[in-house]
Amino acid sequence: MTQEFEAVAEPGVLTPRMPRDVGARSQRQRVLDALALTCAQKTFAATTIGDIVTEAKISRATFYKHFAHKRECFDAAVAAFADELEAAAIDAQKRSDARSLAVQEAIAAILDLLAEKPEWARLVLIDAPIVEPAILGGHRDRVVEGLEAQWQRGKGGEHAKADSLIAFGRAHVLIADYLAAGRADQLPKLLPELTYIALLPFVGHEQALAQDKLAR
C-alpha cells in the first residue's frame, strides 16, 4: 500500500456528514436496495413495483417521486453499482506502479466488493445483460479500454493473442456462475484465475500464467 492510498483512507474522509437532503437521499437509496434484493430473489422480469415498495417500506407515491417506472429505477441501480465498482478499481490500481500488479489490485478490489454485495453483483452481472445487453456492453468497453490503455496491444509474436472483448466475456461468465451458484463469498478466491484472464490478451498465455502464480 502506497502513501498516497493511505492518505485517501484517512479517518477524516470517512467521517459521516449530514447534508440537508439526507432523508430524501436515503429514501432513494432504500428503493435501490429494495430493487436489488427483489431482483436477486425473483429476477427483474418478475419483479413488480409492488414488490419494491413493500421491501423498501415506502408508498407507491414515494416510489414515483424518485422514478418514472421500474426500468428507470433498475437503470439507476445498475449505474450506481457500476460506478462504485469502477471507483474501487481505480483506487486499488494506484497501489502498484507495475501495470500487471496494478491490474491485479483492481481485480481484487472488484471481487471483494462483489462478494460484499451479492445482490448488487447479481443485478449488474446477471439481470442487467438480460434486460438490456447494451448495458453490459458499455461496462465491457470501459473495462477493456482501461486495460488497453496500459498495454500497446500489438499483434505480438507469430501467433495473435486472445481477444480482449472475449476476455471480458470469460470473466463475466465465471463470476456470474459463482453468483448463480450462491458462492459469492468465494469470489475473492478467483483472483489468480481472473488475473490470468485479464492479462491473456496482452502478455500471452505463458506470461499470464506466471502472473497468476504470483497472485496466489
Binding site: 422480469a45 445487453p133 463475466h172 456462475d177 484465475e193 484472464i197 498465455h205
Partner: protein, 255 residues
C-alpha cells in the same frame, strides 16, 4: 451425465430427445380421428406442446407468453396440457431439457470421432455452432429466454453450461502441461458462451458457424497455449472456407 469417449456408440438408444427433429413445426399430427394407440398420441401431444412453447416464447418473450398461447399454437386442449405439465414454467423447462439433450448428443457424437484432443474439441465446437445456427428460435429460447424465467431456470442454466464444459476435462489427461487452474474448463468454455450469447442477442444466429476459427482459438488457448491453438484455428478456417464454397454452389439448386 454421460461423458464423451472415442468408443461411444454413435447409434445411441432412442430417447425422447432423439425424436425431436430440429424443425419442431413438423410434429403436428393430422386433425380428426386417427387410430394411433393412446401413448403415441400422448407423446405427440407433449411434443407438440414443447414445439409450441419454443415458437411462442421466441416470438413473444417468456414473460408475455400464456398457457393459452401455447395451447393455441399446439392445437392441444387445456386439460391435456395439465396432464403433461404443471404449468407454463414446467412446460418451458421441459422444452429446454429436450433441446439440451439433443444438442449434447450432437456435440458428443462430433467429439467422439477419432483424432487429437484439440481436433475433437474443434469438431464438437463446430457441431455446437451449426446446431444453434440451424434454428434461431431455439437458440433464442435457450440462450436468452432462459434467463427471464426465474431462479429455477437460472440454476438449470448454469448446470447446462457445466454439462458442456465437463467435456473439456478430458484435456487435462490428453495433453501435457495443462495449467493448474481449478476453473480452467469454465475459463475456456466461457469464451464460447459469451461470444455465442452476444451473437444470438444481436439477432445474428445464422452466422454462428463463421465464428468457428476465432472460437476454436479462444476455446483451446487456456489448455494448449497460442501455438497449438493457432494451428487448430487454421484448420477451422479451411473448414469454414470449404463450407462457404459448398453453400454458394448449392445456393442455386432448389431445396
Amino acid at each position: 451425465m454421460s461423458r464423451a469417449s472415442p468408443d461411444r456408440r454413435p447409434d445411441r438408444p432412442a430417447t425422447d430427445g432423439d425424436l425431436v427433429a430440429l424443425d419442431l413445426r413438423l410434429w403436428k399430427l393430422p386433425r380428426g380421428r386417427h387410430g394411433l394407440p393412446r401413448e403415441v398420441v400422448a407423446r405427440s401431444q407433449r411434443e407438440r406442446l414443447i414445439a409450441a412453447v419454443v415458437r411462442v416464447t421466441a416470438a413473444k418473450g417468456y414473460q408475455a407468453t400464456s398457457v393459452a398461447d401455447v395451447l393455441k399454437a399446439a392445437g392441444v386442449g387445456r386439460e391435456s396440457f395439465y396432464k403433461h405439465f404443471e404449468g407454463k414454467e414446467d412446460c418451458f423447462l421441459a422444452a429446454n431439457d429436450v433441446l439440451i439433450d439433443d444438442l449434447e448428443a450432437t456435440v458428443t457424437d462430433a467429439y467422439a470421432q477419432p483424432g487429437s484432443w484439440s481436433e475433437r474439441i474443434r469438431r464438437g465446437l463446430a457441431a455446437t455452432l451449426e446446431w444453434l445456427a440451424a434454428d434461431a428460435d431455439v437458440a433464442r429460447v435457450m440462450m436468452l429466454e432462459m434467463g427471464t424465467v426465474g431462479p429455477i431456470a437460472t440454476t438449470r442454466f448454469r448446470q447446462t453450461f457445466h454439462r458442456f464444459t465437463v467435456l473439456l476435462d478430458d484435456g487435462r489427461e490428453a495433453i501435457d502441461g495443462v495449467p493448474d487452474l481449478p476453473n480452467l474448463s469454465s475459463i475456456a468454455g466461457g469464451a464460447v458462451f459469451a461470444r455465442v450469447y452476444e451473437q444470438v442477442a444481436l439477432g445474428e444466429t445464422e452466422s454462428l458457424p463463421q465464428l468457428l476459427p476465432q472460437l476454436t482459438f479462444e476455446l483451446l488457448l487456456p489448455y494448449v497455449g497460442e501455438a497449438v491453438a493457432a494451428a487448430e484455428r487454421t484448420a477451422a478456417e479451411e473448414e469454414v472456407a470449404k463450407q462457404n464454397a459448398n453453400s454458394e454452389r448449392g445456393a442455386g439448386t432448389p431445396r
